[in-house]
């Protein structure tokens, strides 16, 4: 019998969970500049995350999906993307949005239940957060098709979770990306959980990256807590896409350090030992210890940066909290290019109802 096909999936790691270099570092990682940049971005991301959770707990933000544990993936990928590349995020990529220029206050606006968090100038051609799981994979292929049809040298980056790889949209997207050789990079944040469902119940395939092989495209696994491994894979995949050399699937192996969202309680289903081992591998401490050991980052740098981050985040929170809600007419104003006559009537009713409520409110306040 002949072998018709034989595939393999590589796993790449440079700095391991003990902050030791196990693979010789590429040149850029032998100097401090980029690594420190990555570190600082991850720290601010984690600070922001803690703040957002605190806001939710005190009723000042809606349900929020934490980014704790995927900072390395988001920071490295967003940093390597050019302005012209297009980001197709899911709902856990606010760190990428921050790096691509979105104001933290606008990110809070989205999670605070306000559509304006999807409409900032900084987002340019990037898509807004995608909530229906895996649907964004096909949008990414459509965007990549547009890029290809117009002979542009841009890449599309599609973010998704491990759970999303089970939904038909994902293999459908890989398939068309392969057949049409689309300039798209799929990055799976394999954080081991889809709410309460562990990675092992999504698929018995040893890796998620190998799903690429079924579509005839490149797939690889990287340590999603190692900024160097991520940098190497993502940079190459982006370049391949821009050069018209086709799509790539990168499975970034990480760990969800938080509840699924603030509406979830992971203690119901996640053994504490699993979480503990997740924390032992997490990206920020790993890089901090490495930078310390190199003598590139000291206690005073840390203190200063934390202070700066805290202040920047507090300013964003203040701005968010001071943003008044949209007028009720906004429910109608973006539905169609031109509002149909029937809806103008409904709009008038909504506006007058809200004015009446406002008057009643003022009246009550005047009386008390």
């Amino acid at each position: 019998m002949n072998i018709s096909y034989k595939g393999q999936i590589t796993f790449s790691q440079f700095i391991n969970e003990h902050s030791q270099v196990i693979t010789p570092l590429p040149e850029w990682a032998q100097v401090d500049k980029t690594l420190i940049e990555y570190y600082k971005l991850m720290v601010i991301a984690r600070q922001f995350d803690n703040k957002a959770i605190a806001l939710q707990r005190t009723g000042q933000l809606g349900t929020y999906a934490s980014s704790s544990g995927c900072e390395a993936i988001d920071v490295v990928t967003a940093s390597l993307m050019s302005k012209e590349d297009v980001l197709v995020p899911y709902y856990r990529n606010h760190v990428m949005q921050m790096i691509r220029g979105m104001k933290l206050s606008d990110i809070l606006l989205y999670w605070g239940g306000d559509e304006r968090g999807n409409s900032t100038a900084a987002q340019a051609e990037d898509l807004p957060n995608c909530v229906p799981i895996a649907t964004q994979c096909l949008h990414a292929c459509g965007i990549a098709s547009a890029i290809k049809i117009r002979d542009q040298q841009r890449a599309t980056v599609c973010m998704l979770g491990d759970g999303a790889t089970s939904k038909g949209d994902f293999p459908e997207a890989l398939n068309v990306a392969g057949v049409w050789q689309l300039p798209v990079v799929f990055i799976i944040n394999n954080n081991q959980w889809a709410i309460s469902v562990p990675r092992s119940l999504q698929s018995i395939a040893p890796t998620l990256a190998q799903k690429a092989l079924g579509a005839g495209i490149r797939g690889e696994q990287v340590d999603g807590n190692d900024v160097v491994a991520l940098h190497q894979s993502v940079e190459q995949a982006l370049q391949r896409a821009r050069d018209g050399k086709g799509p790539t699937v990168i499975e970034a192996v990480s760990y969800r350090l938080s509840d699924h969202t603030t509406a979830d309680d992971a203690t119901r289903y996640r053994p504490p030992e699993a979480l503990k081992s997740g924390w032992e591998k997490e990206p920020i401490k790993r890089l901090r210890d490495y930078l310390h050991a190199q003598g590139w980052w000291q206690e005073n740098n840390e203190t200063e940066w934390l202070q700066q981050a805290t202040q920047q985040i507090q300013e964003a929170v203040d701005e968010y909290l001071e943003t008044p809600p949209q007028p009720v007419s906004s429910i109608f104003d973006y539905l169609y290019a031109d509002l149909p006559a029937q809806l103008s009537k409904q709009r008038d009713i909504a506006v007058s109802r809200s004015q009446n409520q406002g008057q009643q409110q003022n009246h009550k306040e005047a009386q008390s």
Binding site: G62, G113, K167, V197, S330, L343, S354
Partner: protein, 329 residues
């Protein structure tokens, strides 16, 4: 679970699932996060522990797969009860529901059938993220071969869910999550199903009929009791099964009162309310003494939650609609 205590709707659903699984070994449960986690709203808590992972299954994340599996299980004679985590994520399952579940009996001339239930929490009012608050019951009510059922109290949730599971045809069982925990009732765990395809008259009155379902029953009952203080007697009808609709109860009520308001959360256009208005207009025209009034959602996308409250119909709108209808001569 102790049935002597007053329980809320989500507990009543849980109780019905326990009872159905206890009474019938063919009843099995599947969905995302239903087994170990007990469902994101806790509706399936304890079932995995009671009946094991062969009958209570956490599935991979894929709604089309879930619906397709239930079709296959059902044609084998199992009675699958699938949970779609939120109604906003049911759309990948549409093909399986519409092209297969709803028509298996018909296309095999009764050789095969689909005694399946698809449960999904629906509706707004809990400040959820986008896609978690819509009311798209009309999409299902439009499909021949499906039953669409929605309860409005713990007792009806228990009885109607048992009925849905026992029913030999596919049932879309929509759970109004805004009232999952808003009312506690004593629910007797007697295994008794309530009838499907019948409306429930929750309050009798002679002046006007208020027709609603799901979570809006709460505001409708509030409006009725406020209006009673002004000596206006409202009849409140919970439609409960949105397809097939029990026309007799609606026609009899409007025959008596001559006036009606239809109340729901979904956008007004092409809604189940439109169908009810059409039934009344075609079959009760001579009984009507005022135009049919409607209180519903705007024909817009459900806004993110900061403006959600402005979208949802409120009690005062129902009261106003009743008064306008009564003033009509």
């Amino acid at each position: 679970m102790k049935s002597e205590e007053a329980i809320c709707m989500v507990e009543a659903i849980n109780l019905a699932l326990h009872r159905a699984m206890q009474d019938d070994a063919d009843v099995i449960l599947l969905g995302e996060d239903v087994a170990t986690n007990g469902g994101v709203f806790r509706a399936t808590v304890g079932l995995k522990e009671a009946f094991g992972i062969k009958r209570v299954m956490d599935t991979p994340l894929a709604e089309n797969m879930i619906a397709g599996l239930t079709v296959g299980m059902a044609v084998q004679g199992l009675k699958p009860v699938a949970e779609i985590q939120f109604m906003g994520f049911i759309f990948p399952a549409m093909e399986q529901i519409v092209c297969h579940a709803a028509r298996m009996r018909n296309r095999t001339r009764g050789r095969l059938s689909c005694p399946l239930v698809i449960r999904a929490p629906y509706g707004g009012g809990i400040h959820a993220p986008e896609h978690h608050s819509e009311s798209t019951e009309a999409l299902f009510a439009h499909i021949p071969g499906l039953r669409v059922v929605t309860p409005s109290s713990p007792q009806r949730a228990y009885g109607l869910l048992l009925a849905a599971i026992q029913n030999p045809d596919p049932v879309i069982f929509l759970e109004p999550k805004r009232i999952y925990r808003s009312q506690n009732q004593h629910v007797e765990d007697n295994g008794k199903a309530l009838p499907l395809d019948t409306c429930f008259t929750l309050r009798e009155g002679s002046d006007i009929s208020l027709i609603s379902w799901g979570s809006m029953i709460k505001e409708t009952l509030e409006a009725a009791s406020q209006l009673a203080d002004e000596d206006i007697q409202c009849e409140v009808i919970d439609v409960a099964t949105l397809n097939p609709i029990d026309r007799e109860t609606l026609l009899a009520s409007v025959g008596k009162t001559g006036r009606c308001v239809i109340i729901h959360e979904a956008p007004i256009t092409c809604s189940v309310g439109s169908e009810i208005a059409s039934i009344l207009a075609t079959e009760a025209l001579l009984d009507l003494r005022a135009p049919i009034a409607r209180v519903g959602g705007y024909d817009t996308v459900m806004p993110y939650f900061r403006l959600e409250d402005q979208y949802m119909p409120h009690t005062d709108q129902i009261v106003d609609a009743v008064k306008r209808t009564l003033e009509f001569n």
